[in-house]
Amino acid sequence: AQSVTQPDARVTVSEGASLQLRCKYSYSATPYLFWYVQYPRQGLQLLLKYYSGDPVVQGVNSFEAEFSKSNSSFHLQKASVHWSDSAVYFCALSRSSGSWQLIFGSGTQLTVMP
C-alpha cells in the first residue's frame, strides 16, 4: 500500500540555521513526489515537485529536496531559514494512475525562533 511518513511532528530551529524535514514513502514504483507548505488559516501551496531525472530538485524560497530511491526518501532542505518559514509542511506522493490523488504525510510543524 502507498503511504507517506513524516516522522517529526514538530521541528524548531533558530533563524539562519539550516533545516531538514524528513519524508519517507512507500510505493511500488517510482512515485511523483511533492512538498507543500501551509501557512496559518490558508490552503496548501506547492513548494517543489519531483517526477524524474536529477534527484535534487529546487523549489520556491530557496527550498530544495533530494529524492533517494534506495532510501525511499524525499527530504526537504533549506540552507538558512527565516522566521517567515514558520508553517506546516506536508510531503505527498501522487498515485501514477487513475485518480492521480495525493497521499499526504501527517505534516511537520516548523517553528523558526528569531
Binding site: L44, Y51, W100, L102, G105, G107
Partner: protein, 111 residues
C-alpha cells in the same frame, strides 16, 4: 489568475442537519478533489471527480456525497452531519500528472 475558491469559509452546523460545501475552479482542470484535514492525519481524500457528471469515492467517503454539475463546480454534501465530521475541508483541482491546486479551506464545526 487561475484559482480555486471555496464557500463558505466557516460553517457551524447542528447534528443531523444538511451541509453543502461548494468549490469553484477557474483552472479548467478535469479533476477535482475533496480532502479533509485533521491533526495527525494530514489530508485524506473523500471524493473526487474526473469531469462534469462524474464522482468517485476516495479513501474516506462514508457520510459524504459529492456532486459535479459542471467543469468548474464541485460540491461536498453532508446529508446528516455528525460531530465527527468537524474538520477543515479542502478542495483541489488538477489535470492529471501535474500538481494539484488547493482552495483556502472551509472550517466546519458540527455541534
Amino acid at each position: 489568475e487561475a484559482a480555486v475558491t471555496q464557500s463558505p469559509r466557516n460553517k457551524v452546523a447542528v447534528t443531523g442537519g444538511k451541509v453543502t460545501l461548494s468549490c469553484n475552479q477557474t483552472n479548467n482542470h478535469n479533476n477535482m478533489y475533496w480532502y479533509r484535514q485533521d491533526t495527525g492525519h494530514g489530508l485524506r481524500l473523500i471524493h473526487y471527480s474526473y469531469g462534469a457528471g462524474s464522482t468517485e469515492k476516495g479513501d474516506i467517503p462514508d457520510g459524504y456525497k459529492a456532486s459535479r454539475p459542471s467543469q468548474e463546480n464541485f460540491s461536498l454534501i453532508l446529508e446528516l452531519a455528525t460531530p465527527s465530521q468537524t474538520s477543515v475541508y479542502f478542495c483541489a483541482s488538477g489535470d492529471g500528472r501535474v500538481e494539484q491546486y488547493f482552495g483556502p479551506g472551509t472550517r466546519l464545526t458540527v455541534l
